[in-house]
Protein backbone atom coordinates (compact mmCIF):
# COMPACT_ATOMS: atom_id res chain seq x y z
CA UNK A 1 0.00 0.00 0.00
CA UNK A 2 2.63 2.47 1.10
CA UNK A 3 4.80 1.66 -1.92
CA UNK A 4 1.99 2.28 -4.32
CA UNK A 5 1.34 5.74 -2.99
CA UNK A 6 5.06 6.48 -3.20
CA UNK A 7 5.13 5.45 -6.84
CA UNK A 8 2.35 7.80 -7.70
CA UNK A 9 4.50 10.53 -6.26
CA UNK A 10 7.47 9.62 -8.42
CA UNK A 11 5.54 9.23 -11.63
CA UNK A 12 3.61 12.45 -11.84
CA UNK A 13 0.08 12.38 -13.15
CA UNK A 14 -0.34 16.04 -12.47
CA UNK A 15 -3.62 16.59 -14.27
CA UNK A 16 -5.02 13.34 -12.82
CA UNK A 17 -3.96 14.33 -9.28
CA UNK A 18 -5.64 17.66 -9.77
CA UNK A 19 -8.74 15.98 -10.99
CA UNK A 20 -8.77 13.64 -7.99
CA UNK A 21 -8.31 16.58 -5.64
CA UNK A 22 -11.18 18.37 -7.29
CA UNK A 23 -13.35 15.32 -6.81
CA UNK A 24 -12.35 14.94 -3.18
CA UNK A 25 -12.87 18.60 -2.40
CA UNK A 26 -16.34 18.61 -3.87
CA UNK A 27 -17.54 15.45 -2.21
CA UNK A 28 -16.19 15.55 1.32
CA UNK A 29 -17.71 12.86 3.50
CA UNK A 30 -17.77 14.07 7.08
CA UNK A 31 -18.16 11.73 10.03
CA UNK A 32 -21.34 11.86 12.12
CA UNK A 33 -19.52 12.60 15.27
CA UNK A 34 -21.16 14.94 17.71
CA UNK A 35 -19.50 15.53 21.04
CA UNK A 36 -21.47 18.39 22.53
CA UNK A 37 -23.30 21.63 21.74
CA UNK A 38 -21.53 22.20 18.41
CA UNK A 39 -22.96 18.94 17.10
CA UNK A 40 -26.41 20.51 17.07
CA UNK A 41 -25.15 23.34 14.89
CA UNK A 42 -23.50 20.73 12.71
CA UNK A 43 -26.89 19.03 12.37
CA UNK A 44 -28.49 22.37 11.58
CA UNK A 45 -25.88 22.91 8.88
CA UNK A 46 -26.82 19.62 7.30
CA UNK A 47 -30.57 20.19 7.61
CA UNK A 48 -33.09 22.05 5.56
CA UNK A 49 -32.13 25.69 5.88
CA UNK A 50 -28.38 25.68 5.46
CA UNK A 51 -28.26 22.54 3.36
CA UNK A 52 -24.67 21.42 3.27
CA UNK A 53 -25.53 19.38 0.17
CA UNK A 54 -25.02 22.52 -1.85
CA UNK A 55 -21.31 22.08 -1.21
CA UNK A 56 -21.27 18.34 -1.68
CA UNK A 57 -20.48 17.61 1.95
CA UNK A 58 -23.80 16.25 3.12
CA UNK A 59 -22.99 12.54 3.20
CA UNK A 60 -22.48 12.15 6.94
CA UNK A 61 -21.21 8.65 7.59
CA UNK A 62 -21.39 7.01 11.02
CA UNK A 63 -18.36 4.83 10.35
CA UNK A 64 -14.88 6.37 10.31
CA UNK A 65 -13.82 3.94 7.59
CA UNK A 66 -16.07 5.66 5.08
CA UNK A 67 -15.12 9.24 5.91
CA UNK A 68 -12.46 11.61 4.81
CA UNK A 69 -13.14 14.58 7.06
CA UNK A 70 -13.65 14.52 10.79
CA UNK A 71 -15.51 17.47 12.25
CA UNK A 72 -14.58 17.57 15.92
CA UNK A 73 -17.73 19.23 17.20
CA UNK A 74 -17.46 19.70 20.92
CA UNK A 75 -15.44 19.20 24.06
CA UNK A 76 -13.00 16.31 24.12
CA UNK A 77 -12.86 14.98 27.65
CA UNK A 78 -9.93 12.97 28.91
CA UNK A 79 -12.18 9.94 29.07
CA UNK A 80 -13.21 10.42 25.45
CA UNK A 81 -9.75 11.24 24.08
CA UNK A 82 -8.63 7.63 23.40
CA UNK A 83 -11.85 7.00 21.47
CA UNK A 84 -11.41 10.15 19.40
CA UNK A 85 -7.82 9.16 18.67
CA UNK A 86 -8.96 5.68 17.58
CA UNK A 87 -11.59 7.13 15.28
CA UNK A 88 -9.01 9.36 13.66
CA UNK A 89 -6.65 6.43 13.19
CA UNK A 90 -9.41 4.35 11.60
CA UNK A 91 -10.10 6.91 8.89
CA UNK A 92 -8.48 6.08 5.55
CA UNK A 93 -6.06 8.49 3.91
CA UNK A 94 -6.37 11.14 2.62
CA UNK A 95 -8.11 12.65 5.62
CA UNK A 96 -8.67 16.06 7.09
CA UNK A 97 -9.78 17.40 10.44
CA UNK A 98 -11.93 20.41 11.19
CA UNK A 99 -11.91 21.63 14.80
CA UNK A 100 -15.33 23.17 15.24
CA UNK A 101 -15.88 25.49 18.16
CA UNK A 102 -13.76 26.82 20.97
CA UNK A 103 -13.69 23.56 22.91
CA UNK A 104 -12.10 21.70 20.02
CA UNK A 105 -9.68 24.57 19.44
CA UNK A 106 -8.41 25.13 22.96
CA UNK A 107 -10.82 23.76 25.54
CA UNK A 108 -12.91 26.91 25.27
CA UNK A 109 -14.85 28.00 28.33
CA UNK A 110 -13.95 24.85 30.24
CA UNK A 111 -10.33 25.74 30.82
CA UNK A 112 -9.58 27.00 34.29
CA UNK A 113 -6.83 26.58 36.79
CA UNK A 114 -7.11 23.14 38.26
CA UNK A 115 -9.24 21.62 35.50
CA UNK A 116 -9.08 17.85 35.58
CA UNK A 117 -11.35 16.60 32.85
CA UNK A 118 -10.77 17.89 29.33
CA UNK A 119 -8.20 17.88 26.57
CA UNK A 120 -7.31 21.46 25.72
CA UNK A 121 -7.76 21.32 21.98
CA UNK A 122 -8.04 18.65 19.30
CA UNK A 123 -4.59 19.54 18.01
CA UNK A 124 -3.15 17.95 21.15
CA UNK A 125 -4.26 14.61 19.68
CA UNK A 126 -3.81 14.89 15.91
CA UNK A 127 -3.12 17.52 13.23
CA UNK A 128 -6.00 19.88 12.52
CA UNK A 129 -6.53 21.52 9.13
CA UNK A 130 -9.20 24.10 9.78
CA UNK A 131 -10.19 25.83 13.01
CA UNK A 132 -13.66 27.37 13.28
CA UNK A 133 -14.07 29.67 16.27
CA UNK A 134 -17.38 30.26 18.01
CA UNK A 135 -19.27 28.92 20.98
CA UNK A 136 -20.92 27.33 19.07
CA UNK A 137 -20.00 28.58 15.56
CA UNK A 138 -22.95 29.45 13.38
CA UNK A 139 -23.81 27.12 10.50
CA UNK A 140 -22.50 29.75 8.09
CA UNK A 141 -19.17 29.52 9.88
CA UNK A 142 -19.07 25.76 9.40
CA UNK A 143 -19.83 26.19 5.72
CA UNK A 144 -17.03 28.71 5.48
CA UNK A 145 -14.79 26.16 7.19
CA UNK A 146 -15.72 23.53 4.60
CA UNK A 147 -14.94 26.02 1.79
CA UNK A 148 -11.62 26.77 3.47
CA UNK A 149 -10.84 23.07 3.51
CA UNK A 150 -11.75 22.78 -0.17
CA UNK A 151 -9.32 25.57 -0.88
CA UNK A 152 -6.66 23.70 1.04
CA UNK A 153 -7.29 20.54 -0.96
CA UNK A 154 -7.47 22.02 -4.45
CA UNK A 155 -5.43 25.16 -4.05
CA UNK A 156 -8.15 27.49 -5.25
CA UNK A 157 -11.35 28.77 -3.85
CA UNK A 158 -14.73 27.83 -5.19
CA UNK A 159 -16.50 30.98 -4.05
CA UNK A 160 -15.21 34.53 -4.04
CA UNK A 161 -14.43 35.66 -0.51
CA UNK A 162 -16.98 38.03 0.94
CA UNK A 163 -15.32 41.15 2.25
CA UNK A 164 -16.55 42.65 5.50
CA UNK A 165 -18.35 45.92 4.88
Amino acid sequence: MGKESLQSAIIKFAPLDKLLDLGRANSLWPMTFGLACCAIEMMATGASRFDLARFGAEVFRPSPRQCDVMIVAGTISKKMAPAVQTLYDQMPEPKWVIAMGNCAISGGPFVFEGQYGIVEGADKLFPVDVFIPGCPPRPEALIEGILELEEKVTGHRRWPRVEAV
Binding site: K78, K79, G114, Q115, Y116, G117
Partner: protein
Amino acid sequence: MLSELKSEFASLAPLAVIETDYKVKGYHLDVEVGPDRVVDAAELLDRLGFFLEAITGVDWLGKNPVGNQPDPVSVNEQDPEAAEAEGEAGSDAPADKMEVVYDYNRTDGVLCRVVVRCRLDRAKPELPTVSRLIPGADWHERETHDFFGIIFTGHHDLSPLLLPEDADFHPLRKDFKA
Protein backbone atom coordinates in the same frame (compact mmCIF):
# COMPACT_ATOMS: atom_id res chain seq x y z
CA MET B 1 -48.19 16.48 55.75
CA LEU B 2 -45.49 18.35 57.63
CA SER B 3 -46.74 17.62 61.13
CA GLU B 4 -47.25 13.97 60.24
CA LEU B 5 -43.73 13.80 58.88
CA LYS B 6 -42.32 15.47 61.97
CA SER B 7 -43.91 12.95 64.28
CA GLU B 8 -42.74 10.09 62.06
CA PHE B 9 -39.22 11.43 62.08
CA ALA B 10 -39.21 11.76 65.85
CA SER B 11 -39.01 7.98 66.08
CA LEU B 12 -35.70 7.99 64.19
CA ALA B 13 -33.87 9.95 66.87
CA PRO B 14 -32.91 12.72 64.46
CA LEU B 15 -30.22 15.24 65.37
CA ALA B 16 -32.41 18.07 64.13
CA VAL B 17 -35.79 18.52 62.48
CA ILE B 18 -36.39 22.06 61.29
CA GLU B 19 -39.30 23.49 59.41
CA THR B 20 -37.88 25.93 56.86
CA ASP B 21 -39.27 28.85 54.93
CA TYR B 22 -40.06 27.38 51.52
CA LYS B 23 -40.11 30.83 49.88
CA VAL B 24 -36.46 31.38 50.72
CA LYS B 25 -34.95 27.93 51.04
CA GLY B 26 -36.91 26.04 48.42
CA TYR B 27 -37.71 23.14 50.74
CA HIS B 28 -40.06 22.56 53.65
CA LEU B 29 -38.37 20.25 56.09
CA ASP B 30 -34.73 19.93 56.98
CA VAL B 31 -33.80 16.77 58.83
CA GLU B 32 -30.39 15.88 60.14
CA VAL B 33 -29.73 12.27 61.05
CA GLY B 34 -26.72 10.21 62.04
CA PRO B 35 -25.12 7.88 59.47
CA ASP B 36 -26.79 4.84 61.02
CA ARG B 37 -30.25 6.33 60.43
CA VAL B 38 -29.95 7.28 56.76
CA VAL B 39 -31.49 4.04 55.54
CA ASP B 40 -34.32 4.29 58.05
CA ALA B 41 -35.07 7.81 56.84
CA ALA B 42 -35.10 6.62 53.24
CA GLU B 43 -37.39 3.76 54.16
CA LEU B 44 -39.77 6.09 55.95
CA LEU B 45 -39.95 8.57 53.08
CA ASP B 46 -40.23 5.83 50.49
CA ARG B 47 -43.15 4.33 52.41
CA LEU B 48 -44.87 7.70 52.45
CA GLY B 49 -44.60 7.97 48.66
CA PHE B 50 -41.64 10.32 48.30
CA PHE B 51 -39.07 9.90 45.59
CA LEU B 52 -35.39 10.60 45.76
CA GLU B 53 -34.53 13.57 43.60
CA ALA B 54 -30.80 13.80 44.20
CA ILE B 55 -27.95 12.92 46.49
CA THR B 56 -24.97 15.16 46.83
CA GLY B 57 -22.07 15.93 49.08
CA VAL B 58 -20.54 19.06 50.55
CA ASP B 59 -16.99 19.25 51.79
CA TRP B 60 -16.69 21.46 54.86
CA LEU B 61 -12.93 21.63 55.05
CA GLY B 62 -11.96 24.13 57.75
CA LYS B 63 -15.49 25.50 58.03
CA ASN B 64 -18.52 25.11 60.19
CA PRO B 65 -21.29 23.48 58.19
CA VAL B 66 -24.02 25.97 57.35
CA GLY B 67 -27.41 25.10 56.01
CA ASN B 68 -29.79 24.22 58.80
CA GLN B 69 -29.49 27.00 61.29
CA PRO B 70 -32.86 27.40 62.98
CA ASP B 71 -33.36 31.02 61.87
CA PRO B 72 -32.10 31.69 58.40
CA VAL B 73 -31.13 35.35 58.36
CA SER B 74 -33.16 37.24 55.86
CA VAL B 75 -31.16 38.62 53.00
CA ASN B 76 -31.71 42.30 53.55
CA GLU B 77 -30.48 42.09 57.10
CA GLN B 78 -27.56 39.88 56.31
CA ASP B 79 -24.30 40.83 57.87
CA PRO B 80 -21.42 39.35 55.94
CA GLU B 81 -18.97 40.04 58.74
CA ALA B 82 -21.02 38.06 61.20
CA ALA B 83 -21.12 35.16 58.77
CA GLU B 84 -17.38 35.36 58.33
CA ALA B 85 -16.76 35.49 62.04
CA GLU B 86 -18.84 32.39 62.39
CA GLY B 87 -16.73 30.71 59.74
CA GLU B 88 -13.55 31.65 61.55
CA ALA B 89 -14.85 30.34 64.82
CA GLY B 90 -15.51 27.10 63.00
CA SER B 91 -11.89 26.69 62.08
CA ASP B 92 -10.95 25.67 65.60
CA ALA B 93 -13.68 23.03 65.55
CA PRO B 94 -12.22 19.63 66.47
CA ALA B 95 -12.82 17.74 63.23
CA ASP B 96 -13.66 18.69 59.66
CA LYS B 97 -16.95 17.46 58.34
CA MET B 98 -18.22 15.99 55.13
CA GLU B 99 -21.91 16.27 54.48
CA VAL B 100 -24.23 14.10 52.42
CA VAL B 101 -27.52 15.66 51.39
CA TYR B 102 -30.57 13.74 50.16
CA ASP B 103 -33.34 15.65 48.41
CA TYR B 104 -36.77 14.05 48.54
CA ASN B 105 -39.85 15.24 46.70
CA ARG B 106 -43.34 14.04 45.85
CA THR B 107 -45.15 13.74 42.55
CA ASP B 108 -48.73 13.34 43.73
CA GLY B 109 -49.65 16.99 43.97
CA VAL B 110 -48.75 17.55 47.62
CA LEU B 111 -46.02 20.13 47.70
CA CYS B 112 -43.51 18.91 50.25
CA ARG B 113 -39.77 18.82 49.80
CA VAL B 114 -37.68 17.15 52.45
CA VAL B 115 -33.95 17.43 52.84
CA VAL B 116 -32.17 14.76 54.83
CA ARG B 117 -28.60 15.52 55.71
CA CYS B 118 -25.96 13.50 57.40
CA ARG B 119 -22.62 14.82 58.63
CA LEU B 120 -19.62 12.56 58.61
CA ASP B 121 -16.11 12.72 59.90
CA ARG B 122 -14.06 14.01 56.97
CA ALA B 123 -11.19 11.65 57.76
CA LYS B 124 -13.43 8.61 57.43
CA PRO B 125 -16.52 9.44 55.36
CA GLU B 126 -18.59 6.28 55.41
CA LEU B 127 -22.30 5.66 55.55
CA PRO B 128 -24.62 2.87 54.44
CA THR B 129 -26.09 2.86 50.96
CA VAL B 130 -29.77 3.41 50.25
CA SER B 131 -29.50 2.00 46.73
CA ARG B 132 -30.88 -1.41 47.78
CA LEU B 133 -34.08 0.33 48.78
CA ILE B 134 -34.18 3.00 46.08
CA PRO B 135 -32.53 1.82 42.87
CA GLY B 136 -32.34 5.40 41.59
CA ALA B 137 -29.84 6.17 44.36
CA ASP B 138 -27.30 3.89 42.70
CA TRP B 139 -25.90 6.45 40.26
CA HIS B 140 -26.28 9.38 42.62
CA GLU B 141 -24.16 7.57 45.19
CA ARG B 142 -21.56 6.61 42.64
CA GLU B 143 -21.37 10.22 41.53
CA THR B 144 -20.99 11.42 45.11
CA HIS B 145 -18.25 8.85 45.61
CA ASP B 146 -16.53 10.10 42.44
CA PHE B 147 -16.57 13.69 43.52
CA PHE B 148 -15.98 13.44 47.26
CA GLY B 149 -14.64 9.98 48.00
CA ILE B 150 -17.54 9.29 50.33
CA ILE B 151 -17.90 5.54 50.75
CA PHE B 152 -21.38 4.09 50.68
CA THR B 153 -20.98 0.75 52.41
CA GLY B 154 -22.95 -2.05 50.82
CA HIS B 155 -23.10 -0.38 47.41
CA HIS B 156 -22.59 -2.98 44.71
CA ASP B 157 -20.22 -1.00 42.53
CA LEU B 158 -18.50 2.25 43.45
CA SER B 159 -16.32 2.43 40.35
CA PRO B 160 -16.06 5.89 38.76
CA LEU B 161 -19.20 6.92 36.93
CA LEU B 162 -18.43 10.35 35.52
CA LEU B 163 -14.66 10.32 35.92
CA PRO B 164 -12.38 8.10 33.80
CA GLU B 165 -12.35 4.42 34.78
CA ASP B 166 -8.92 4.65 36.39
CA ALA B 167 -9.52 7.92 38.26
CA ASP B 168 -8.16 7.89 41.79
CA PHE B 169 -8.90 11.50 42.68
CA HIS B 170 -11.94 13.24 44.11
CA PRO B 171 -12.14 16.62 42.39
CA LEU B 172 -14.81 18.33 44.47
CA ARG B 173 -12.89 17.98 47.71
CA LYS B 174 -11.78 21.44 48.69
CA ASP B 175 -8.13 20.39 48.97
CA PHE B 176 -8.07 18.84 45.48
CA LYS B 177 -5.34 20.08 43.16
CA ALA B 178 -5.14 18.98 39.53
